[in-house]
Amino acid sequence: MSEPRDLVGGAPETSFTLDFDGRKLPAHSGQSIAAVLWSAGITAWRTTRQGGAPRGAFCGIGSCYDCLVTVNGRPNQRACLLPARPGDTVTPQEGTGHGALV
């Protein structure tokens, strides 16, 4: 099966792994964190503040804020906009992501 990158004949400059919830996920430079997660078959990485329902990328263009995730300890990052970088640690986010402040 071809990937979107094959369709445009692109090749990643570098490949690395992204740490997600203790797993090492293959990542390419230029991919958003949401793209890395989707490529690994992960579609939900956050729970809602009320009810704890699962959420992942919805609009994919930074508008809906459904894809919030904790990156390197900083909660509420939009996975669909934030490029994956070597050494990043991505953590599933529960609710506000600020539970530790209480």
Binding site: R49, P75, N76, G95, T96, H98, G99, L101, V102
Partner: protein, 392 residues
Amino acid sequence: MPNRHSPDVVIIGAGVVGAACAYYAARAGLSVTVVDRGPVAGGTTGAGEGNLLVSDKEAGPELDLALLSTRLWRELATELPPETEYEPKGGLVVAPDETTLKALRTFAEGQRAAGVDAREIAPDDLPALEPHLAAGFAGGFHYPQDAQVQPAQAAARLLHASGAATRLGEEVTALLTGPDGTVRGVRTTRGEIAARAVVNAAGTWGGRIAELAGVRLPVLPRRGFVLVTEPLPRLVRHKVYAADYIADVASDSAALQSSAVVEGTPGGPVLIGATRERVGFDRSLSTEALRRLAGQAAALFPVLGEVRALRTYHGFRPYLPDHLPAVGPDPRAPGLFHACGHEGAGIGLAPATGLLLADVLTGARPALDLAPFRPERFGDGTTSHAANGAGA
């Protein structure tokens, strides 16, 4: 001429004060139409935090209005839907030093005599009320009567509950007058509405409505910014502010003043108010105002230094020179009633204002003396064509 389709009262302004006037007037048996050039809560109401405060008001007419409103909001909370987000959370005023604490004690003494529940909190007991409050305060006062609503929702739900006819997006361009000069309705961009009485609940723009009647009501805008954080777990339980906020509210200075009022919301974000400055209707963003608010909020709650501010909004408080609203009939323009100029306290003071105004409209005896709120108290407003209106 009024006909069978004419309402008893036309209220200009679909903010929280207009909504409360509509609610209590309708409850008193009057038929009401509310007109606004914009949407519901499109002016200062929608730019507020939803403060229902007695804590920041010194003993006097405004505090009496606030205390009456406190009782009325409690009643309304049982009648309005949960979206109103009424939270009787209480306020906490903290004093950075002994001098301020003494001043606060004197202030609270006067409030207590007027019926306010004000409890002094020793420094060691502050963390029990607010676990994340910074250390080092000399003490504080807890005001259990302080509460909060979601202001735009509160106005909309109150207006809906009134059953009043609403005409939005329709600007009042003139007041209709009878042969004797009495105000008998409004002309709008879409037609005329005849009525026995017209209520000016136009908030910060109330002076312009007065002008249409040829009378002067010196309502001026006092700009305020609010900072909104990302959604957080409940870190802040009360409305918390430093004692110098009270001095800011009462100040007559035009310069930028800021003293953070910090509060959590049911939605999650923490709201950080409230700057005050007189810059006319200037809508430009003031980074200086926001910088100060953020710094002061983090000084009260160091944990807020760790979180992000997502957005900011601002609005224009309608203030009159003596910081009291104008509530009641205008003897210079019979048929015209005012309910505006509540400065930053309009959400809190709305129900009492609406109730008192409904009393006046129906000829009942108002629950409070309206003399301090007389619209004509700033004088000098009478123009020739309205000079015959002597009876109040």
